[in-house]
């Protein structure tokens, strides 16, 4: 899908994702963060990412944080019950909830990052400044899924070759896994030698600096988007620090923030990808309608 957010200049998308991560870690207010989580999750749905096993994994992490905090943190006034003679308080639950939402939002943003910042966009961003390092990072990134696939194939073939019964001792399972890993890595090293030869054969290392084929100018839409992003981000963060809106969970419990404008600013910031997509769809249907 090449619409809306994906069409923006990689630099703009990268900055937006970075700012979104910062906001999600700074704004420790459950309502604000829930707002962020809902919009980021909507964005995930739009980009069709994080919908497989990773969603379960993210929720699991969130739950873990939510439950762990009250068990270790006993501050707060409203005692709900005693767990092994330790008080479990409403406030610590609230704090755990906030932290959990923050972590889940950040994870989801990383999932979208993977979808949006494709390897070639990554190279566009960094290959001019750090040509060798970015190539190295890019090759490593490619190596991981390739290795996963190779492992799947290898273990399949070896399982047919050395069939094992259902009941196995833990030690045998470990030995088997170790044997497979050894095979996998020796195979990968041999493959890497050929890749290295292919790189050298095509002139890698002739010059210290390489050039890049990508060039993408900043369009008017990119500028507009940057202004929007900066305004909403600065608005949110300005309100947060300017009015010192920190929640003091353990003293006062949760209260709505003193400046309701911050909810609007943050809402507009997080809604940005969905809005761009919506604008694009509206434009599309209007242009088709008229013609």
């Amino acid at each position: 899908m090449q619409t809306g957010f994906q069409n923006l200049n990689p630099a703009v998308s990268f900055v937006y994702l970075l700012l979104a991560v910062i906001l999600s870690m700074v704004l420790l207010d459950p309502l604000l963060l829930m707002l962020g989580l809902v919009f980021v999750f909507g964005w995930c749905l739009l980009e069709k990412c994080a919908l497989d096993g990773s969603l379960l994994w993210i929720t699991g992490t969130g739950l873990f944080v939510l439950l762990l905090n009250p068990l270790l943190n006993h501050r707060g006034r409203t005692v709900l019950f005693y767990f092994f003679e330790n008080p479990v308080t409403l406030e610590s639950f609230l704090y755990g909830f906030t932290a959990a939402v923050s972590i889940m939002t950040v994870f989801l943003i990383f999932m979208v990052y993977n979808r949006i910042i494709t390897p070639d966009k990554f190279m566009f961003l960094f290959s001019k400044r750090l040509p060798r390092t970015s190539l190295l990072i890019m090759m490593c990134l490619r190596f991981i899924p390739a290795l996963q696939q190779q492992y799947r194939e290898l273990s399949g073939v070896q399982r047919v070759k050395h069939p094992v019964g259902r009941k196995r001792r833990r030690r045998e399972t470990l030995q088997e896994a170790f044997r497979l890993l050894t095979l996998l890595f020796s195979g990968a090293i041999c493959g890497a030698i050929e890749t290295a030869q292919s790189m050298r054969a095509r002139g890698y290392g002739v010059y210290a600096r390489r050039t890049g084929w990508r060039e993408q100018r900043l369009t008017a839409a990119d500028l507009l988007a940057s202004v929007y992003i900066l305004c909403t981000f600065l608005g949110t963060i300005g309100l947060w620090y300017g009015f010192d809106l920190k929640q003091d969970f353990f003293q006062t419990g949760w209260q709505p923030l003193g400046q309701p404008a911050i909810y609007i600013a943050a809402g507009f910031f997080y809604a940005f990808p969905i809005l761009t997509e919506g604008v694009e769809r509206l434009k599309w249907s209007f242009s088709n309608w008229n013609s």
């Binding site: 497989d52 494709t118 390897p119 070639d120 190279m123 890019m138 090759m139 990134l141 490619r142 899924p145 696939q149 194939e153 290898l154 399949g156 073939v157 070896q158 399982r159 047919v160 070759k161 050395h162 044997r179 095979l183 020796s186 195979g187 041999c190 493959g191 050929e194 890749t195 030869q197 292919s198 790189m199 050298r200 054969a201 095509r202 002139g203 890698y204 290392g205 002739v206 010059y207 600096r209 390489r210 050039t211 890049g212 084929w213 990508r214 060039e215």
Partner: protein
């Protein structure tokens, strides 16, 4: 103009006792299209790699090699990278980047082309190769044929003067392989690019090339025009001649003493036409069709896909394997052949459908396309002994597959053909009721293919059943009982071998193409010879 000049070149790998190249004197001129052929391990790859400085293997080298009058080690780095292009055998390992466009640009980025120049060159070359369809794809989504075209294209973008290719079509299906060779021919004719190509399946290369080097034990035994090489080799009655030359040689011997050795299908058809009334009648030997045999395995309405959202790779596929028979799966790259083998082996789980085995007969050996996935020990010998077969059997197989010199080596140190043979030996020793082989004939020369064929026949006589996937039409025609074409995830044709091949354009042997007007069911060299044996 002289491009390469090799003088008294001798090269020895550190692990070997014998030199891989011996006293080679050779001059390659600009604009030539040279085919390197010979049995596996004769030094084809080693010779090619000597001509590309960046990938020359470590070892002791004597003699000199010059490129356009300059000793190879002294050429400027940029000139060496730009002017001498190399396409490797394995299409996967030589790809560096994650998507097609970046891969194409990789070489040009290294040599500091400007962005506009790169885009123009890529645009131009993409139309030449018809690559527009997959330009925006990621590497993981490409088929083997597309990958190899991509490799060729990314080398060509640097505008080399000479192109060195090491068995580039060994993993391509018959259609893609022919197309690839035609690209080489066009590059040679239209741009005057010098091409050096090593190839085991050389039938289709002979009519295209301008010179053939026949290598034997590390030295050049014959170096001449293709026709002359074919003439000389057919006089010696070796297997190393293309099917076209084989047919005209037989016609010359038995029917028409004035017949020339021809290298194209069309010329041979004319030759046959001229002698039509002198050709004996021929009927395919009738196979005693015992249809009553119980199938060893029946695949019923199989559906399989790799990801939830992805398309089905196998769709409504049904297949039966008769016990004691050899069935061959053919089809384009990416049609689902390997996936079917993995499903039968039990590696992949189908989403729907059944694989039903004959009662009590469920034992299977699976030999993957990449032999390195199969090996699990440090020495070839351990690998063979681990099966637990009788000593005598191992000895016999080792000598028949010519593996004696490999026994103490690590499987990774063997050549591609040797790895393949070692895996085959292990597979045969396991004596499972079903033997699944993915591209067993890959990297094997004519002689070894014949060995493999007879070993498979013995395996069947002992009650084993064989299912193999191959792109090698000649091998399938010679040794399969049944053939099966896979297209788009299901079987479109499942027949006895003779019925299967007769009438196809691409999925048939060169022999059949030449003789089909007179003998529609004739497929193999053996059958050609049987014409005159009866009389």
């Amino acid at each position: 103009m002289e491009l390469f000049k090799l003088e008294q070149l001798t090269f020895q790998y550190p692990v070997n006792d014998m030199p891989s190249l011996k006293d080679i004197d050779l001059t390659i001129h600009e604009g030539e299209f040279v085919l390197l052929c010979g049995s596996s391990g004769c030094g084809k790859t080693t010779l090619l790699k000597q001509m590309k400085r960046e990938i020359t293997p470590a070892g002791s080298l004597r003699g000199t090699i010059t490129y356009r009058g300059i000793p190879l080690p002294e050429i400027a780095k940029e000139a060496s990278a730009r002017e001498i292009g190399f396409v490797f055998q394995n299409p996967d390992n030589q790809i560096v980047m994650g998507d097609v466009y970046s891969e194409l640009a990789f070489g040009m980025e290294n040599l500091r082309f400007s962005s506009a120049e790169m885009k123009r060159k890529i645009a131009e070359l993409c139309s030449f190769f018809g690559m527009e369809g997959f330009l925006d794809k990621e590497i993981l989504q490409l088929s083997g044929g597309q990958k190899q075209v991509l490799n060729l294209a990314s080398v060509l973008l640097l505008q080399p003067r000479v192109l060195l290719l090491d068995e580039p079509t060994s993993q391509l299906d018959p259609v893609a392989a022919k197309e690839f060779l035609l690209f080489l021919k066009r590059l040679n004719e239209e741009f005057g690019m010098t091409v050096l190509l090593s190839e085991h399946r050389f039938d289709d290369v002979y009519p295209l090339c301008s010179r053939v080097l026949f290598l034997q034990n590390g030295s050049v035994r014959i170096d001449a025009e293709p026709k002359q090489v074919a003439r000389q080799l057919s006089a010696e009655k070796t297997d190393f001649i293309p099917a076209q030359a084989f047919l005209s040689q037989r016609l010359r011997e038995h029917v028409d003493s004035e017949a020339e050795i021809c290298l194209t299908v069309r010329e041979n058809q004319r030759l046959l036409e001229r002698n039509l009334d002198r050709l004996p009648p021929w009927e395919p030997s009738v196979q005693n069709a015992e249809k009553t045999r119980e199938p060893l395995l029946a695949v019923k309405r199989l559906f399989l896909k790799y990801t939830l959202e992805g398309a089905y790779v196998l769709k409504d596929l049904s297949l039966t394997l008769e016990q004691g028979k050899c069935t061959c799966l053919l089809g384009a790259n990416g049609s689902g052949k390997s996936t079917l083998l993995k499903a039968i082996a039990g590696i992949l789980k189908p989403q729907a459908g059944k694989i039903k085995w004959m009662r009590g007969q469920r034992s299977v050996t699976y030999l993957p396309q990449n032999p390195l996935l199969f090996f699990s020990f440090e020495h070839a010998e351990e690998e063979l002994r681990s099966v637990g077969a009788e000593e005598e059997k191992i000895e016999r197989l080792v000598s028949r597959l010519e593996l004696t010199h490999c026994m103490q080596k690590h499987p990774h140190d063997l050549s591609g053909g040797e790895q393949q043979r070692l895996m085959i030996a292990c597979g045969l020793l396991r004596e499972a009721s079903l033997l699944l082989m993915d591209e067993p004939a890959k990297g094997l020369d004519q002689r070894m293919k014949a060995r493999l064929g007879s070993l498979l026949q013995e395996y069947q006589q002992n009650g084993g059943t064989v299912l193999l996937v191959t792109h090698d039409v000649d091998f399938a025609a010679s040794y399969a009982d049944n053939c099966c074409l896979l297209f788009n995830g299901s079987t479109v044709s499942e027949k006895g071998t003779a019925d299967f091949f007769a009438g196809n354009y691409f999925y048939t042997t060169n022999i059949n193409r030449m003789v089909r007007r007179r003998y529609p069911a004739m497929l193999t060299r053996k059958e050609v010879d049987s014409l005159w044996q009866k009389n």
